[in-house]
Symmetry: C2
Subunit: 506 residues, 2 copies
Amino acid sequence: MATTTDLYGELIERMKKTVLLGSCSSVLGWDEQTYLPPGGGEHRANQLALLAGMTHERATHPRVGELLSELESRSDLGADGSDEQVVIREARRSYNRATKLPQKLVEELSHTTTLAQQAWVGARKAKSFPQFEPWLAKVLKLKREEASAIGYGNGVPYDALLDDYEPGATAESIAAAFRPLREELVKLVAAIVDSDRHPQHEILTRRYPIDAQREFATQAAKAIGFSFEDGRLDVAAHPFCSGFGPGDCRLTTRYDEQHFPGAFFGVLHEAGHGIYEQGLNREAYGTGLGETTSLGIHESQSRMWENLVGRSRPFWQHFFPQAKAAFTEALSSVTVDDFYAAINDVRPSFIRVEADECTYNLHIMLRFEIEQAMLAGDLQTPDVPGVWNETFEKFFGLTPPHDSFGCLQDIHWSAGLFGYFPTYALGNMYAAQFFETADQTLGGLSAQFARGEFAPLKQWLNEHIHQQGKRFRAQELVQRVTGRPLSHEPLLRHLHARFDPLYGVK
Amino acid sequence: MATTTDLYGELIERMKKTVLLGSCSSVLGWDEQTYLPPGGGEHRANQLALLAGMTHERATHPRVGELLSELESRSDLGADGSDEQVVIREARRSYNRATKLPQKLVEELSHTTTLAQQAWVGARKAKSFPQFEPWLAKVLKLKREEASAIGYGNGVPYDALLDDYEPGATAESIAAAFRPLREELVKLVAAIVDSDRHPQHEILTRRYPIDAQREFATQAAKAIGFSFEDGRLDVAAHPFCSGFGPGDCRLTTRYDEQHFPGAFFGVLHEAGHGIYEQGLNREAYGTGLGETTSLGIHESQSRMWENLVGRSRPFWQHFFPQAKAAFTEALSSVTVDDFYAAINDVRPSFIRVEADECTYNLHIMLRFEIEQAMLAGDLQTPDVPGVWNETFEKFFGLTPPHDSFGCLQDIHWSAGLFGYFPTYALGNMYAAQFFETADQTLGGLSAQFARGEFAPLKQWLNEHIHQQGKRFRAQELVQRVTGRPLSHEPLLRHLHARFDPLYGVK
């Protein structure tokens, strides 16, 4: 009879190869978003579908099931909570999920979403939702099939998809977390809108030469701890971070010469994701212990560096002199206080990725409602722009001038990422709660930031979050790291601490 | 019993998937050369080895052998020379070759050459052969194993490798083709070196801003027929062209602000390869009918556009005014005749890819000798620089100042490409012979080039060469297209026609 060690080794070997194969898709996906020539779209879709199918075939190989069953019956595998137990638990979860999906559906989803993303790029450029709608309908149909294949006990197909991104969360639990937050946010935004203080937003729409933006953002990403030895920064229509594996993590952003914050805070955001990827345990690559634990936690890392760090007064105390040197034309007569106020300008606006910290979560809540309705079959794809604009008007008091400022702005649905959006708002809540704890533990981060010291926070995150991999579910991780369950209060405390003085409210 | 049509369909389906999977490796290989961060090398090697192994597994699947044997026994597959027969013939050739290689060797070769290429980049930069030597030894050992696995009847391991690049050729047949060429070249070079005419080479080492070089080269590549809708141009340490598949072909080059011809003729060269790739029959993708027929023929396309077209007087009659506009500082007081003489400067020099048309083939003959000796076991890797420099001195009357100008200059050996070099010189011979025929058939290409018309030549190549795929072996293709077997005479006629008047020789 094979020893437990042998069986475990065989399972690990298989898993590593499967993850390695999946990482080849990441390279092709990155290239698709950054450098693919227009004519190469169909071929790329074929390549990605083939890899998705082969990866799925490996992930669902009957031998994996046998190994798992056998290992689960062994008593000599390690105690509860041991590395081995965590690896088996996560492998079982992935295997069960993967075996529920027919190979054909996996390949079809890959192929369709590759083409749908290409269609989305064109439609967004053309400001034409009808150009994208047939693709949205196709993707939605496949995602509903996916939800059915995964199964959901409670009659809510959304939960089957959400569970892939935020294990353990449900639409219900998220709605409950959002409710008190939304109430408070609406009050805060209203108070700010009523305030008679108005940051000089135009500071940020002066001329910021793109080469200088790239260089400045690169330096900032380096300073907070993203390693360019093990990664790079390129341009893509929709910014993202993709960790290919140990030593290779790719960030992307987009530049607008007339808009400083878009690229800069975008890079800090993606670098936050990248620092998580680069902080994973390399030795555990290919197993749950070397993987990020949930998208919400992932987003907590990006939003922390983007907002809690990057939009803070001490961060700019350190970086503003460098910014003045890099953007002499735009910033020569600007004070750090005016700049700080401008980057924290709160105002209802159309584009989620450029929204301020106060309104951002309302953008998420809008998408959360709409995608739930689509998946439940309560909202047909041709009606999405109408419902989007109506809800937007209700939340923000504004109507998007065209769909590229409305329901066409995000890549997610074209990529099949239904159930993904709420993890952004969860990320904001996790971020604030982690940050409060880090701040207390590390003895005042503000003074460190003002001196340009970001390593202590990064190392704390490395140790308490990144190196843990999937050892704990998001909810448990928050409880363990902060000593409390997830709450909307730290985020609100942060927002009040930052925005009350800026706008003279409360 | 399955019909012939069904079996044939099944074979095609299998082949297409295998080629598609192989094309994923091309994407990762391209990224490795263009954008890979330093820390990602080991992971990339693992990815490429996995894909190489999986591709090999598919290519050697027993079902492919069954299908081939069954189809070969069917009488209703199509007449001799039919598409079906060509596809089966080429599939059989690939299958036989692939099944001779153990999977383990394929993976080891992939993994080792990936790391060896990375080591080569570092060693070349450091001008340190010893830094690269252990990798060369490892690769050589594996390539000798490969040759043994493939087998060679005549005691010449080199032939087993050469056959992969130039089916049907042998070291013997190539040496025979080179012999009369070398004799004549040595005479021609000697006459030119003795000439009292000296082009103003320094014209080409003035300041050529890199952005302008990129733009100008891009426009020229477009003009000769490379489609940027279906391809792109990036930067790599060692320029190459990689056809990923229908609609996606990548060119690379490297820029030196003080050296115009390096990037420009490099781009024309790679664009020539790219035009071949883009000219393949898309519907036949995945079969021999949709593949380039040999490296020699591939090189004939790149060298034709680079030299026979790109360094011709009529080409510059058209492009020189644009060059003057793009490089005002360097070219404002230069005449087209001085420029034409400068780009056709013949002089013994160190770097193959920057060599003139007359000395180029001597660079190849040097490599051809050395790699044969390595494979035969007559030359040990630590002795390569010594033998290189000695032979170089014999051929060129010069000694490389360091190994990056000597045996470290090419990527080929690090990538395992033994037997590849002679295809470059074959390409020059094929190119001249094809070009003579095209010139006669199309009624004088010079006048067309002078008017900026390159489409007739491109279409002639598309029809007579590119669209044929692997229907004919190189030798037969030359015979069919030009009505004669391969000869060194057209190349010599071309060289005399170009260089005799420039140097007042003969």
